[in-house]
């Protein structure tokens, strides 16, 4: 085998000197490589540009619609009514004669009754019943004079789960003087049935006690016993009563129309549009809505459009305590508003200001009191539906990307010629330009010499439906000179101007479910491999 290799090497050596002397002409191959491909259907195109919550087929003929959903506001019990922690204290004192009676061995028997208001937020609402979901009732007493105490405290307006009034015992047995003695009661399942003494909800406390002499202590005039009762961390399961005409104010909220995120100007004229306010109300009280503002705003152009809408949107409230929530839809469309005008300036945002008030008609009948459960909610969601049936004119989109370009690695490439070929089945065209800026936002170069049609719109029939796709082939060359120009690129600005077919004549087009677009990107690499 070595002999064979020697012979082989000899033949190679025969020409080795010639190889060193050999010159070769420059090698200039042209490689054509497909870079990327895709068939974008209507879902690909619209969801990619829009990140839609949902893209819908609207109607039976396959017309597509953009759908934006969002929560305008959502309220619960805590944001309407609150039952705060509350506490009252009541000292018991001996008069001189009462002290003498105790020391004489006769003893003292007495009682008293206290009415105390139940604090609520807001104040002044009438409470017929509260059923508790949690919290505690605490009774604390402190014996100040070392006599023999016995007695009880009863709250007739607070019933335990067995409907018995809460009652607590006072005893000096095993109780140290001056040390508070506390008894807690879990309010879960308990009911509070305060007496309505306008404007207060009153709780009644009944206290009965006996005091007998402790021979080792002399009773004196003054404080003898401290009593304190507290309701701590109360949680309502539900509350029934009349809550008055409490205001329910909401912040100004908005919905983003993301298809216009990078849009600056242009007209987006639709044949129809729908805005639905979907309301689910599990509050058991009538609510009147005051929609103070619906407006669209193009942040770039500053163009603002107001929706003319009807007033007096009223809910009746959930009918029964454990029944289904009330559902209602307030719909705005061409029939009752100028809703399509809202979208014409290609707005990025639609603003809503919605206020509400409870019991707009005053106190309800006695057999139809207000109620709110712990899980009651008043939810208002917005649902914007834009059937893609209309025209778009001179919609200008601009996006800026921060990036750094470098072409040092491709020294043996003379130039690149990118080729974008499209068969556009959508009735919308796009002219594009890409600008390359340095760190000071100074223009270095552009992809095209002027804005170039990268996608031609499809041809449409009389119904605005595409019959033949628009075919476009675009070339963009990147040579060494341009590469050098772009070497200090820090920002790439993409500028796209979109128009639907024949938009200058306000031709109506329709975006159908079966639309698609073939896009092919390839590159020719012009090599220049020099000796």
């Amino acid at each position: 085998m070595k002999n064979s290799l020697f012979i082989v090497a000899s033949f190679l050596l025969l020409f080795s000197c010639r190889v060193d002397e050999l010159k070769v002409e420059d090698w200039k191959p042209i490689a054509a490589i497909p870079l990327a491909y895709s068939n974008f259907d209507v879902y690909d195109v619209l969801t990619r540009t829009d990140s839609l919550d949902e893209l819908l087929v609207f109607g039976t003929d396959g017309l597509m619609a953009l759908n934006y959903k969002g929560e305008l506001f959502s309220l619960g019990l805590d944001e309407i009514l609150d039952l705060p922690d509350q506490s009252i204290s009541q000292p018991l004192s001996f008069s001189e004669s009462e002290a003498d009676l105790i020391d004489s061995g006769i003893g003292l028997s007495s009682s008293f009754n206290i009415d105390t208001p139940l604090e609520t937020d807001p104040e002044g609402i009438r409470i017929d019943e509260i059923v508790m979901l949690g919290g505690s009732f605490e009774f604390t007493y402190t014996i100040i004079q070392d006599e023999v105490f016995s007695g009880s405290l009863t709250l007739s307006n607070i019933l335990d789960a067995n409907s018995n009034p809460l009652s607590f015992v006072i005893s000096s047995v095993d109780t140290e003087v001056g040390i508070p003695e506390t008894v807690s009661f879990d309010l879960t399942g308990a009911s509070i049935l305060p007496a309505w003494e306008d404007p207060d909800n009153v709780l009644n406390i009944d206290f009965e006690f006996d005091v007998t002499d402790n021979p080792d202590n002399d009773a004196i005039e003054g404080d003898a016993l401290d009593i304190n009762i507290s309701i701590l961390q109360p949680e309502m399961d539900y509350i029934v009563g009349y809550f008055g005409q409490i205001p329910i104010n909401t912040d100004r909220d908005s919905v983003s129309i993301r298809i216009f995120d990078n849009g600056l100007t242009g007209t987006f004229a639709l044949e129809e549009a729908f805005i639905d306010l979907n309301i689910e109300n599990s509050f058991g009280l009538p609510v009147a809505f005051d929609l103070t503002e619906v407006s669209s705003l193009n942040l770039d152009s500053g163009e603002e459009t107001d929706l003319i809408f009807p007033n007096d949107l009223e809910l009746q409230g959930q009918a029964t305590l454990n029944g289904p929530p009330e559902e209602a839809v307030f719909a705005f469309d061409n029939n009752n508003t100028n809703v399509i005008e809202l979208f014409e300036p290609s707005p990025k945002t639609i603003f809503f200001q919605l206020n509400a008030s409870a019991n707009p008609n005053g106190e309800p009948p006695i057999d139809m009191p207000n109620f709110i459960k712990h899980d009651s909610r008043l939810d208002v969601e917005i649902d914007v539906l834009l059937p893609l049936n209309g025209y778009a004119q001179d919609l200008l989109f601009i996006d800026t990307l921060s990036t750094e370009l470098s072409f040092d690695e491709y020294a043996e490439i003379d130039s690149l010629e990118f080729k974008l070929a499209s068969s556009n089945g959508f009735p919308i065209s796009a002219d594009a330009q890409i600008l390359f800026l340095n760190e000071n936002n100074v223009l270095l170069d552009s992809l095209f010499t002027h804005s170039t049609a990268v996608f031609a719109s499809g041809d449409i029939n009389a119904d605005g439906i595409v019959e033949n796709p628009g075919l476009t082939t675009v070339f963009a060359t990147l040579d060494n000179e341009k590469a050098a120009n772009l070497d200090s690129t820090e920002q790439v600005v993409i500028r796209v101007l979109a128009n639907t077919t024949n938009s200058s004549n306000q031709q109506i087009v329709r975006f159908m479910e079966d639309y698609s677009m073939d896009v092919r990107l390839g590159v020719k690499i012009y090599g220049n491999i020099e000796q």
Partner: protein
């Protein structure tokens, strides 16, 4: 510049290529005992016994490139790619073979039978490419001459086979030495193989989309497989090289081949000769891997979603092209056995003895090289100067396309017999004008009465 140089070197390798498997037409006159039956086993020696020099009883080295020659592609030390292109044939071959006789010997029985045996190490290779492949590489698939054209790359192949050959055979005569027949049986141990079993495919670049399509069938077998689960060719070769650290554990292929031949003297002067040489196959069962392109495959680039979601990965589109083409050649799961046919040779010749010291031989041959065949004609003349020096020379029309000038001599110095020759003397004095390089040498010792057919004539 580095790439240009690399291409230039590759081109020059084609031009100056080392060795070849063109037909050795001088064997038809070969009276060296150790190789007289290489052209036809019906050639029988007349010595009582002979022995080839161990390690140097025979060495054939052949190399050729059928595509173009140095002088037609280089002008004033400038390599002209356009001239390379114009000189190429539709199908071009880089051919290589070596045969090293390790040991051989033989003896005569009853004046009628001649028995021989031996061992040799053989390496043969053929790399074939089409003109369109060079055109594609030189111009690129985006060139106006190429894009939109269906480029037939059929025949593109890489073949190499190394094996050891243990053989034994015999020849005898009938009809009062008018009819000679002979046969050899070879036991073959395949060491390394790369075998393009099928290569019928074309490539097309779409002028509108630049989509690159490959259509056809391609099957490549090798036993250079390392880890058969990865089918990484580079890793396979590395693993195979590692195996030589323990040559006793080399996974080898097994095979057999036969040589059959006959000569018939129509008259005292005219003899016809026929032979089928090295007809057999080697089966490889260990460390094997098969790569296939079956049907069609089109590369369209990467999905736009990938490009949009990861705009920094534009360069991966180029990598994806390589990956996709590589993936198109799917590896057949699991190791599959395959057989490689030996490179056989079929000859039909006529020998005319002009007088006692001059004879002519005309031969038509078909030589196989890894599923490809080359047809060749040759006309040889031999002149004997006494018993010691015989010269021979002539012309060979290889593949009916290339004219070669074979020359050689044979020296008979007592028991020592030495032969040296080439199939193309042009390579020796004008190497830039030919692509065919060959040399062969034989050395043997012979003992006993030599009644070789030609020597016998000389003695008369």
């Amino acid at each position: 510049m580095k790439m240009t140089k690399t291409i230039s070197l590759l081109v020059l390798l084609f031009v100056s290529g080392t060795t070849l498997a063109q037909l050795n037409s001088t064997y038809q006159f070969d009276d060296i005992p150790g190789s007289s039956w290489l052209g036809n086993p019906a050639f029988v020696g007349q010595e009582k016994f002979f022995i080839g020099f161990p390690g140097l009883n025979a060495l054939d080295v052949n190399a050729a490139h059928t595509g173009f020659t140095f002088n037609k592609t280089v002008e004033n030390d400038n390599l002209k790619f356009n001239k390379v292109l114009s000189e190429l044939n539709d199908a071009n071959h880089l051919l290589f073979s070596t045969r090293l006789g390790i040991l051989n010997g033989g003896f005569r029985i009853n004046q009628k039978w001649h028995v021989r045996f031996g061992a040799q190490l053989v390496t043969q290779a053929r790399i074939s490419y089409s003109k369109s492949l060079f055109d594609l590489i030189y111009k690129g698939n985006g060139h106006p001459d190429i894009i939109g054209q269906n480029l037939d790359l059929s025949g593109l192949s890489f073949n190499s086979l190394s094996y050891t050959d243990f053989f034994a055979g015999a020849g005898t005569s009938f009809l009062n030495e008018r009819l000679f027949v002979g046969a050899n049986l070879h036991y073959l141990n395949g060491i390394a193989v790369a075998y393009t079993e099928k290569s019928e495919f074309s490539i097309y670049t779409d002028p509108d989309t630049y989509d690159i399509s490959v259509n056809g069938d391609f099957t490549y077998n090798t036993n250079l497989a390392g880890d058969s689960t990865t089918f990484d060719i580079a890793q396979d070769i590395e693993d195979f090289a590692d195996q030589f650290q323990d040559p006793q554990d080399l996974p080898i292929g097994r095979g057999f081949a036969v040589d059959l031949g006959a000569r018939f003297k129509l008259t005292d002067q005219l003899e016809i000769q026929a032979a089928a040489m090295n007809v057999g196959a080697i089966k490889f069962t260990e460390n094997t891997a098969t790569y296939e392109l079956d049907g069609s495959f089109t590369y369209q680039g990467v999905d736009f979603d990938d490009l949009i979601d990861n705009p920094d990965s534009t360069i991966t589109a180029f990598e994806a092209l390589g990956d996709s083409i590589s993936d198109a050649f799917t590896a057949v799961n699991g190791s599959s056995d395959f057989a490689v046919p030996t490179n056989s040779q079929f000859t039909l010749a006529a020998n005319y003895a002009i007088n006692q010291t001059n004879d002519l031989n005309v031969m038509f041959a078909h030589q196989r090289s890894f599923n490809h065949g080359f047809n060749t004609m040759s006309l040889m003349y031999r002149k004997k100067f006494g018993r010691i020096l015989w010269l021979r020379g002539g012309a060979q029309y290889f593949d009916f396309n290339h004219v070669l000038i074979p020359v050689g001599f044979q020296l008979n110095a007592g028991p020592v017999q030495f032969g040296l020759g080439t199939n193309n003397i042009i390579a020796a004095f004008a190497p830039t004008k030919t692509g065919f390089f060959t040399g062969h040498v034989q050395l043997a010792l012979r003992f006993g009465k030599d009644r070789g057919r030609n020597i016998e004539v000389a003695e008369e």
